[in-house]
């Protein structure tokens, strides 16, 4: 992250996290991407190294770090060279905050603490085949029956969906997705544990990038979950999901600038090593200028993401700014990774070349965690409209 806002504890954590990543992820990154899988054991190893609990409360085993502690770890993980692994490992970052925001202390101990200890893996399941950006369009239903709820419906594109021991599932306890007046009502969050009868996962979805992460469909058919797995009462779901907005967008913003920086570093090195027309590639002014432009875009996006993170740390409302930061970072990353492939020539198109992977992996940043268009809506509503 931007050094301007970091104190010695952030630097120390960054060094420590990077040392862990250099040993536990980087040597295996290419293999895990090719295997479309990273070992489950890594969740526990990361937890033991203290990398899972960084920003969570002490009561659940976290270290109560600030937003920058979380971001330096996120960047270190991306720098392992397998975005899929970083995102798979990071599925707790979108699934635990809603539990913490809505849940009781008992629910925190039951569901959050084991994930921070690395004993369990969690995922967040909101998106459905017919509803993504439009969360109010979800159709999965949960109907109260005595001491339990019965859930029917399906979810898709769920990160860590296959390996997760617990899923935080958005389901309707009221409202009607086809009725403009009530579609925002009655969205509730439930924790559904693996092995609950009526809960099944589908196949591992095949993707453009993030190969090492598992992305799955989840199916609920008469799935009965105890009422104590409801988080924060019926209809509290939107509030719970809002707990993610700023942190998830900052995390994606940092992932984007971290990815861009790696692509820039690889390009800079390659342009010094590779020759054409009897001179190194950076012997051409057009190449040097392209590298300069890549560096400038990355630096600008990084500075803005960090500034918004700092304002968030100070407690300011950054709803519009964080949407801008995510979009800027995604744009910078798209530009830099595309230029990186171009500068690598045919090699940039080869699976053995890291920029080939970074180019594919970054494509999701502007779709996941709220699309660019959804961010623009927020910028308009929260920043520009009266």
């Amino acid at each position: 992250m931007l050094d301007l806002f970091l104190d010695e504890t952030h630097h120390a954590l960054r060094d420590s996290a990077q040392a862990w990543v250099d040993r536990h992820i980087a040597p295996h990154a290419a293999q895990w991407e090719a295997d479309k899988h990273f070992p489950r054991e890594l969740h526990r190893a990361a937890a033991e190294a203290g990398l899972v609990g960084v920003t969570y409360p002490e009561a659940v085993g976290g270290a109560e770090g600030d937003v920058f502690h979380g971001l330096v770890v996120a960047e270190a993980l991306i720098r392992g060279g397998s975005v899929g692994t970083a995102m798979g490992l990071g599925s707790h970052a979108i699934s635990l905050p809603p539990i913490l925001a809505l849940g009781t202390p008992e629910q925190h101990q039951r569901f959050v603490a084991p994930v921070i200890r690395g004993e369990k893996v969690s995922c967040l399941a909101v998106t459905e085949p017919a509803a993504g950006s439009d969360v109010a369009g979800i159709r999965t239903r949960a109907v109260r029956d005595g001491d339990s709820y019965v859930i029917d419906g399906s979810k898709t594109f769920i990160t860590s969906g296959l390996r997760a021991d617990l899923a935080v599932v958005a389901a309707r306890t009221g409202g009607d997705p086809d009725d403009a007046a009530t579609r925002h009502d009655g969205i509730s969050l439930f924790v559904v544990e693996k092995g609950t009868p009526g809960f099944q996962t589908g196949r591992a979805l095949q993707k453009m990038g993030w190969h090492a992460s598992d992305t799955a469909e989840l199916f609920f058919e008469g799935c009965r979950v105890p009422a104590e797995n409801l988080l924060g009462g019926e209809g509290a779901g939107f509030l719970g999901l809002m707990a993610n907005f700023v942190s998830e967008r900052l995390l994606l913003g940092v992932s984007a600038v971290a990815t861009a920086r790696m692509a820039l570093e690889d390009s800079r090195r390659y342009c010094g090593e590779r020759s054409a027309f009897r001179r190194p590639l950076h012997g051409f002014q057009v190449t040097r200028h392209r590298l300069a432009e890549m560096a400038a875009r990355e630096a600008g996006a990084r500075a803005f993401v960090a500034t918004v993170a700092e304002r968030h740390r100070r407690g300011e409302d950054v709803a519009a700014d964080v949407a801008m930061a995510k979009n800027m970072a995604c744009d910078a990353c798209a530009f830099v990774t595309d230029a990186a492939v171009q500068l690598h020539g045919g090699m940039g198109y080869m699976a053995e070349c890291r920029v080939e992977r970074l180019f594919r992996d970054q494509r999701l940043y502007s779709i996941g965690g709220g699309t660019t268009e959804v961010m623009n809506e927020i910028i308009w509503r929260r920043g520009l409209a009266d």
Binding site: T9, S16, A63
Partner: protein
Amino acid sequence: MKIGVLLKQVPASDSRIKIADPQRGVALDDVKWEINPYDEFALEAALALLDAKVASDVVLLTVGGADTEQRIRDGLARGATAAVRLDDAAFGGSDCLGVSRILAAAVKAEGITLVFAGKQAIDGDNAQVPAMVAELLGWGYVGEVDQLEVTGAGAKAWRAAGGGARDVVEVGLPAVIGCDKGLNQPRYASLKGIMMAKRKKIDVKGAGAIGVDAGSVGASAALVSETNWGEPPARPPGRVLQGDDAARVKALVAALRDEVKVI
């Protein structure tokens, strides 16, 4: 039991080392520093005994200026309970023996009964200090240890003896153990540890505080002096053997026997 860990900062193992000038040595301005990797095994061995409650304290001992404090903080963040940075104008220019005198005096002053050190530091690769510290203290020393059992009274240490054979050495306490790769998996500093380390104080002690004779250390007392620094000779270019297979095999065998002298 109080354990001492000798902790040295060294240029990161992937640093590009350049000679600054033949008299002064290597250029260190742009170097990234890290804890000597073998010292990480030493620290982990000590922390494991702390976790197992065999040790009550783990004290880091570092000879060096304020620039070493970041590495010392790292050690504290991993779990060491205290740290002493040994710094004095009189210490400047010490050779291995001088550094060992400083460390041995500090070990005594701190009331330490077991010392863990890396088997060597990856900068100078002298592999002298742990043995010298033991000798100066009159303690036993076991070097290159990659497996260890410590009881209250002594330690049993294993090390490679070459050709797959193993040495097993028993040593009574107090003692110095030189740690090798394979002994353990060093832990990482977590944010909790980093925050706790902020509250731990690094003591800075000079010659007087540890009772070392200033005349026995430093440049003036050094028995070893460095006279010239140079790059290792550049690797000679490879040679492609010519001719058909039979001729090339003959030439290769001849070269391996007569020039390289490996067969």
